[in-house]
Symmetry: C2
Subunit: 193 residues, 2 copies
């Protein structure tokens, strides 16, 4: 493996540890063990745990953005159907994942958003690119007469983005997808025109 | 101060540390320092950090429940106005708090919901009592013709409860109340009958 492949692999494995266990629970040693790399290699790539976390957030955000674009720009479905398909996919992915982890960026936003301005800004940047894609699809749905038009697409996008994150909290303490399914049903009833 | 007062004071100060910094970031030593008590006293009251956190969650949940009941059972306002007043109060409280902490139970649900079954169950119990109070007020609003009737009150209560938590994530990484205000406005448009 070349330099880039190594680094990306480490970032992805570390991101998965952070997503499942949180930021402060996971030490650098646990990341090293999971990746099978010596400490020196870690510090060749990253200045600190916080630097590693910023790169993990950016990498996760970017790969999620690719997935979001693939679904929300799929011209085979109407904009509203693309949105439904996107959130169904998130719910299914959480079920396959054991319903106890959720989203890396949301988890780190809640855990360290108030503690580390740089990590908060990196988390927020991922949110903004994702919400931009959601707003773009909502706007197309409004133009097509599928989605209520009296609310700006960006505001509705924030609302959808926040809503499922809130449902993740109950999901994580109950290990049940009920709250995600109820959120989905109500939200799409409310936003349908 | 007697035994009970001491213990409650420690629990409240520790809960505040957990709320602002998260569970894994705060060690027992930081709690001892904040409360000015020796380690021996801590272990007279609590078996472990996890035991302390469970009691902190229960204490916080109970004091929040008192506040929720005071607002949501206030017969001077209509049920819908009580609900609005409740969420306005939460938004104002977060603004006064610096917009970077949010709710202890939500924070711990996200951080340790997938890691510690007992803490998850304690967090969930607080959610359930709060949501029960919200559902009771929503049912009264439905009976009074103020709130959409085609969705069970419990489901709408879950939806409101989750929604503002989702908005907390963006609040924490932007230090802005915009997302709480937008959530408020849209939610009450959607649920008004």
């Amino acid at each position: 493996m070349g330099y880039k492949h190594d680094k990306t692999t480490i970032i992805r494995q570390g991101a998965e540890l952070f997503r499942k266990k949180g930021y402060h629970k996971v030490g650098i040693n646990e990341i090293l063990e999971a990746c099978g790399i010596p400490k020196g290699s870690f510090y060749n790539f990253f200045d600190s745990k916080a630097d590693f976390a910023r790169q993990a957030l950016a990498n996760y955000g970017s790969s999620q953005l690719d997935m979001i674009r693939a679904v929300l720009r799929n011209q085979d479905l109407s904009p509203l159907e693309r949105l439904k398909s996107f959130y169904r996919m998130i719910i299914e992915a959480n079920e396959q994942d054991g319903l106890d982890a959720g989203c890396l960026v949301n988890n780190l936003a809640i855990e360290i958003g108030g503690l580390d301005g740089q990590l908060a800004a990196t988390a927020n940047k991922q949110f903004e690119t994702w919400i931009g894609e959601i707003a773009r699809c909502i706007q197309a749905g409004q133009d097509a007469g599928e989605i209520v038009e009296d609310v700006p697409a960006e505001v509705l996008a924030e609302y959808l983005h926040a809503g499922i994150y809130g449902a993740f909290s109950r999901m994580k303490v109950t290990k049940s997808r009920t709250y995600l399914d109820q959120w989905f049903q109500l939200t799409f009833e409310f936003i349908a025109s």
